[in-house]
């Protein structure tokens, strides 16, 4: 189910502005990799290049290679739509489809991929909502709009929607930054469970969160405002937070940054 991501020499642009420069890294299957770094260092941009979401931004353009196992996502003839069906994404602000019921939100991805019997849909929706630890809270109101849930529930609904199509990889762009601490804890617990089945990459501004949930941590930085963001180092989370090999990482983590 889960696949390895192998990035080499990846550079992304917004128009003529270079946002990230020459990034290479490997993300192991069934692990959680956290991206940390100051605002504007390109970690979200980099995340969005992994499922070809960067290029939907006007002027967005990518050079380099992203291999999912052995398939280059940016190879010629690769359909970005197909890429996004295998690499799910959860956004900073919960974004369930406001006009759809809870059930339809979770089923949305499946319905895009083809036609399913009602009983199949029921099974997948229940399984996904259980997988997102939301089933008990919503099982009695599956036909109510998803936008009626609390922020934390909405975010778990979005996670259920993303995992319903059984993606190879799950990308999370600051999934807890709009949530209160209790909802955040629920999502973090969920990430711990999901990594048994998926390869997870999470962008976070919260270093405690990176330390709590991730196996590997990548630190991004930029030399000055307007300069492209760079990958400073990637290592086991424990090592990054105890004994990083680059001074800049230690400065950032210990709050001596800037």
């Amino acid at each position: 189910m889960a696949k390895r991501i192998d990035v080499s020499g990846l550079t992304a642009y917004y128009g003529s502005h270079k946002a990230i420069d020459d990034i290479s890294m490997t993300v192991e299957p069934r692990s959680v990799t956290a991206f940390i770094g100051p605002s504007g260092c390109g970690k979200s941009t980099f995340l969005r290049t992994l499922n070809r979401m960067h290029e939907v931004t006007p002027g967005g353009r990518v050079e380099g290679k992203v291999l999912l196992d052995d398939e280059d996502l940016y190879g010629s003839g690769v359909d970005p739509v197909a890429v996004r069906r295998t690499i799910g994404m959860v956004f900073q602000r919960p974004n369930p489809f406001p006009t759809m019921s809870i059930f339809d939100n979770v089923a949305a991805g499946l319905r895009l991929n083809g036609s399913y019997k009602k009983s199949e849909l029921n099974d997948v929706v229940e399984k996904s909502l259980k997988g997102a630890n939301l089933w008990n809270e919503v099982k009695d109101r599956l036909n109510k709009p998803g936008s009626g849930l609390s922020g934390g529930q909405q975010q778990r609904l979005c996670i259920a929607r993303a995992i319903a199509v059984e993606p190879q990889v799950l990308l999370m762009d600051e999934p807890c930054s709009a949530l209160d601490p209790i909802s955040t804890l629920a999502i973090e617990d969920l990430i711990g469970e999901l990594k048994e089945r998926f390869t997870i990459v999470i962008v976070t501004h919260n270093m405690q969160q990176a330390a709590r949930v991730s196996d590997r941590t990548a630190f991004f930085n930029l030399s000055a405002v307007g300069q492209p963001g760079k990958l400073i180092e990637i290592d086991d989370t424990e090592r990054i937070f105890s004994n990083p090999s680059v001074q800049a990482t230690e400065d950032y983590i210990s709050g001596r940054f800037g």
Partner: protein, 340 residues
């Protein structure tokens, strides 16, 4: 009404300096001349609006009552417009059945044609076209709205109508069996022609309102669909159209309002008669506004009363249409994008 009631409530008083008498007075908004003038102006505007509405209502109802008092026909069901009583020996005999039919049918034809095309153009401008192309297209659409309706009428009568015989014969060949599309080969100055012309006339307003709504769809809703692996059309179907649904309904109702009340273009194109024709392709029929425009100048005072009575009905139909639109929008509120 809102304007008037809002301006009468005083602006909040600054609690921080309750002791300073000058500030207090200024906050009440009554001492500075600028505030006074603006208050008077906005309150006056609100009252004027109510007064004008009341005056129109009184005028319409009074003249309608005069007309209906002497009518020997049934005002709602009579297929005749003879307020002078030429065929009944001086007894007024008139009804609006033909006008209701003609107005509603031609406007519905216009909506059926215009709404899909307008949504298509709006989506093209907002989501498909490169910016270099979108701007000029939007400009052309605005130009379409600026063409005076008499120009549409002349163009419709002189260019569009004569060229529709081919289309109507084809419709007759394949759909004539329905009765609705029967065509007997006369001049195509029919309700269908009127509907087509009205469709062109209401296209700009529906397009512009829809485009505005489509542009307001939050990026995050579109990205939600994209990240699930939706194609561009699927993004539009899952995020853009549901979010824009109430906007599309409002836009259509604005267009319908214009179509219902359109006068001079209809009067120029339609070859009227006081018969209800099952086929929309054959000439004949009439609309409220067209009927008033073509008969008002030569009508006696009583004839004018009768026409005003029909005007009141048009006014009521328009109100009902707007009310229905509001109902539809309100019922979908729980699922609207406004909750997000």
């Amino acid at each position: 009404m809102d304007i008037a009631s809002n301006t009468t409530s005083p602006p909040p008083v600054d609690d921080a300096k309750p002791a300073a008498p000058v500030d207090k007075a200024a906050a009440r908004g009554a001492t500075r001349p600028g505030d006074k003038i603006f208050l008077g102006f906005s309150r006056g505007s609100g009252i004027a609006l109510l007064a004008i509405m009341a005056a129109i209502a009184v005028f319409l109802t009074y003249r309608t009552a005069l007309a209906l008092a002497d009518n020997t026909g049934n005002f709602l069901t009579t297929f005749e417009w003879d307020p002078a009583g030429a065929s009944t020996g001086g007894k007024p005999y008139f009804g609006i059945a033909v006008l209701v039919f003609g107005t509603v049918v031609s406007s519905l034809i216009a909506l059926v044609i215009a709404v899909p095309v307008a949504i298509g153009i709006a989506l093209f401008i907002s989501h498909y076209a490169p910016r270099k192309l979108a701007t000029p297209i939007a400009y052309v659409i605005d130009l379409l709205a600026a063409v005076p309706s008499i120009v549409y009428g002349l163009w419709g009568a002189l260019v569009v109508a004569p060229n529709l015989t081919g289309l109507y014969s084809w419709l007759d060949d394949y759909f004539g069996w329905t009765g609705i599309f029967e065509y007997n080969g006369g001049a195509p100055r029919s309700l269908m022609t009127v509907g087509i012309l009205l469709a062109i006339m209401i296209l700009p307003i529906i397009t512009n309102v829809s485009r505005e709504v489509f542009l307001q769809v939050p990026k995050m809703h579109e990205e939600a669909a994209l990240a699930l692996g939706a194609t561009r059309w699927e993004v539009i179907r899952m995020s853009v159209l549901p979010f824009g649904r109430s906007g599309i309904i409002s836009a259509s109702m604005l267009g319908l309002g214009r179509a219902l009340g359109e006068t001079i273009a209809v009067a120029t194109v339609l070859s009227p008669s006081f018969l209800i024709n099952a086929s929309v392709l054959d000439y004949g029929g009439g609309t409220f506004a067209q009927n008033i425009a073509s008969k008002f100048n030569e009508a006696s005072e009583y004839g004018q009363d009768a026409l005003i009575a029909s005007g009141l009905i048009l006014f009521i139909i328009t109100l009902l249409v707007n009310g229905a639109a509001r109902l539809i929008i309100a019922r979908r509120k729980e699922y609207s994008g406004a909750n997000a």
